[in-house]
């Protein structure tokens, strides 16, 4: 068993942080990589990015949004309990280099994935401008942590309850107008990554996005995670999960993420009825 040593709730309980004992993975993991995690015998294999790792303590930190049966099940696990299986580190690490000025754009739980990359870009000597957003102030996560690793931090909320009233993409434009930017990293919901990529394409700035297609094995064995990038099929678990945002077919990804909607609802409802 992989034991949970620390647990926090964020975003009014819709987002949960688990720090978990997984020494072999903690020793190896680099920013941008993910694990596959399975709670129990009947559980699904769920991919989650490592928001942090501590090779000395031998722990990894995962931050996940509760969206369906599996993540709802994860939420019920307490400190001292744990997961039956964790596999990793998987995927290619982010290529961290000094490009001068880098802009990190994060939305929702994407901020958790963005945080270690932001820190890595800062450590690589970049000037880092970060733009993070959420629907509303009370569900914004990791603001302090992002501020600590950024030279400049912009916060946006869709409802205007905090920071800039509007989308991260609006702030991104003004930042791109004012600065000579070498790289944009955009991680969040698919529509957000799509629009970030659209804008940066107009500005001609290289852009990385982190894709989250449905996965099973995470080792290139099943092809379930295939995405179209530059007209070619790629397996996100081994060729990614990060890709050039200007080449990604976001519309196909959006559709493919809906593959099991009906089944997932059934599974989730069963789980909630059982719990109640």
């Amino acid at each position: 068993m992989f034991k949970i040593v620390r647990r926090e709730e964020m975003s009014g309980g819709t987002v949960v942080l688990n720090e978990i004992e997984a020494p072999l993975i903690a020793r190896k993991a680099k920013p941008g990589q993910f694990v596959i995690i399975k709670a129990n015998e009947t559980g699904e294999r769920v991919p989650l990015t490592m928001a942090d790792t501590d090779p000395v303590k031998g722990t990894i930190t995962l931050i996940y949004m509760v969206v369906g049966k599996s993540t709802a099940l994860f939420k019920t696990l307490k400190v001292g309990e744990g997961y039956q299986d964790i596999i990793g580190p998987l995927g290619k690490p982010t290529h961290l280099e000094n490009v001068g000025t880098a802009v990190c754009v994060g939305g929702g739980t994407g901020i958790a994935v963005l945080h270690p990359i932001t820190r890595g870009l800062k450590q690589a000597g970049n000037k880092v401008i970060s733009i993070i957003g959420a629907r509303s102030k009370n569900i914004l996560i990791l603001e302090d942590q992002m501020r600590a690793v950024s030279d400049e931090l912009h916060v946006c909320t869709d409802d205007g309850s905090y920071g800039h009233h509007g989308f991260v993409t609006e702030v991104l434009k003004t930042v791109l107008d004012k600065n000579k930017v070498g790289l944009v990293v955009g991680i969040g919901p698919v529509p957000m990554m799509k629009f970030v990529s659209k804008i940066t394409k107009d500005y001609g700035v290289k852009t990385l996005v982190s894709l989250n297609p449905i996965m099973i094995d995470g080792t290139g064995m099943c092809g379930g995670c295939r995405v179209t990038v530059g007209g070619k099929t790629q397996f996100a678990c081994v060729d990614g999960p990060e890709f050039d945002g200007h080449l990604v077919d976001f519309d196909e990804l959006t559709l493919r993420l809906q593959a099991y909607c009906e089944d997932e609802k059934e599974c989730y409802n069963n789980f909630c009825t059982l719990k109640a």
Partner: protein, 470 residues
């Protein structure tokens, strides 16, 4: 002499009792029930006990076939399994999944005139008897040598290496990427053909003998081969299988409702999606299902689709019936269950709706042309013969390639132009010192027994190295 076979041939080959096709096409229980002792003895009596048994030449690991059959004939069931174990450590598996008609049974002398001895069924009988009765001697381990071997992958190749080397007194640890051991035996071959309980009991027997099993360890990611040596392993065996799905590269292949056979079978077998929502992993069930390809993998997929409730399940194959590579028994079972076969048909593209879901496939009729390199007659397109087939699930089962995850992260391994590991055929030695390889990662997709045969040779060579040097 000439009369003898005639006389014996009077007993017909004992039929395998099986579930009714109609009923079994809707459940995941094993299809054949297996022989009872009476049928087994009767079948064993059909064997002529040849002095130069051709059947043994047909078996890649040279099981002493007349030997074990003779023991069944005498009712010595426990001893018969020990005889098989001398050459084959997974007989319950091989009896079920070997392509016997191309191997042992294909060479059986009786088969020249009538039906060959049911060697596979008898092997399965002996193994199942031993497992159920517990009546058999565990082999004894040799004196500990203090040497440590890491086996990467727990498919038939890896399990064979582990079993052989633990017997020879070495310490063995198996590293497996998945959360369950068994390789294709567990994630690929369905329950109705090979109950998983059988595989797990074989693995448990290895663990009882002292083999250590480390699951969830992706070698090349979690730990590298370099680190295995640094940790003190004296030798490493790579048995990671093929494990990279081939797609067709036709338009529309990323529509929802198109799976690689690996994904479809992994969801169903390993993740138990056929028991959704008791198990959490979903699977697209499909009403009208098309499977592309005609190997064992395709048969497994097409038959799984029926069991998941499909109204129709069709095999679409570019070549003709003669070229079908699947085991004869699987084709026969599939037909009995109602799988339809469309030969000489190639996929051109897939059609979808506005939600990105599969609605149909455009196929093209083929005709047989001149034989190609493999001696099979090459299918050629018939121009203008495009037609549409309705489907809401398509499974691509046109083969696998070498998965590069491990080979790319390991230095000094010579690969061939398709990315498979180059290993000496007789010993399994790779270009890197103290590293052996065998099974599908060397030969490309083959069979369980060939993977085991390669494992056996590698184990002998590893033992030799550990006691004598490279």
């Amino acid at each position: 002499m000439a009369e003898k076979p005639e006389k014996k041939e009077k007993t017909p080959r004992q039929p395998m009792p099986e579930q009714e096709p109609k009923a079994r096409a809707r459940n995941f229980e094993e299809v054949p029930y297996g022989y009872g002792p009476e049928a087994a003895v009767k079948e064993a009596e059909r064997c002529l006990q040849c002095k130069n048994p051709a059947c043994v030449d047909g078996c890649p690991v040279a099981v002493d076939i007349p030997g074990f059959i003779n023991l069944i004939k005498q009712g010595e069931f426990a001893r018969s399994i020990s005889k098989i174990w001398e050459k084959n450590s997974l007989p319950a598996v091989c009896g079920r999944v070997c392509p016997q008609e191309m191997q042992c049974e294909g060479r059986c002398i009786i088969g020249k005139k009538g039906e060959p001895v049911a060697i596979g069924n008898l092997e399965r009988f002996a193994a199942d008897f031993a497992r159920k009765s517990g009546e058999c001697e565990l082999p004894t381990l040799a004196q500990p040598t203090g040497k440590r071997v890491a086996v990467v992958g727990s498919g038939p190749a890896g399990l064979t290496v582990a079993g052989d080397l633990i017997l020879k007194g070495h310490q063995v640890t198996i590293y497996e990427a998945f959360h369950k051991p068994g390789g294709v035996l567990v994630y690929g071959i369905p329950e109705f053909r090979l109950p998983k309980e059988i595989v797990f009991s074989e693995v448990a027997a290895l663990e009882n003998m002292g083999v250590k099993l480390e699951l969830n360890q992706v070698i090349g990611r979690t730990i590298t081969v370099e680190e295995l040596f640094a940790e003190g392993f004296d030798a490493v065996f790579l048995g990671v299988g093929a494990g990279l799905p081939r797609f067709l590269n036709v338009p529309g292949e990323n529509l929802i409702g198109i799976y690689s056979a690996n994904e479809y079978l992994t969801r169903s077998n390993l993740m138990k999606a056929y028991r959704f929502p008791e198990y959490d992993t979903p699977i697209i069930k499909g009403r009208k299902v098309i499977t592309l390809g005609a190997g064992n993998v395709a048969m497994d997929a097409a038959r799984t689709a029926l069991r998941l409730g499909a109204e129709s399940s069709s095999i679409v194959y570019r070549r003709s019936r003669e070229e079908v590579p699947a085991r004869a028994a699987e084709v026969h079972h599939a037909e009995e269950e109602g799988v339809q076969f469309h030969f000489l048909t190639a996929p051109v593209k897939f059609l979808g709706n506005e939600k990105g879901r599969l609605t149909g496939m455009v196929g093209l009729k083929m005709a047989l042309g001149e034989p190609d390199d493999s001696g099979r007659r090459r299918p050629v397109e018939i121009k203008g013969s495009e037609f549409e087939m309705e489907c809401d699930l398509a499974i691509i089962a046109v083969g696998a390639n070498a998965n590069p995850l491990l080979t790319r992260s390991t230095e000094g391994l010579q690969l061939n132009k398709w990315g498979y590991i180059v290993a000496d055929e007789a010993t399994g030695k790779t270009s890197r010192k103290a590293v052996w390889a065998g099974g599908d990662i060397v030969t490309g997709s083959a069979t369980v027994i060939l993977a085991m045969g390669a494992g056996r040779k590698a184990a002998d060579s590893i033992h030799d190295y550990l006691v004598r040097g490279w």
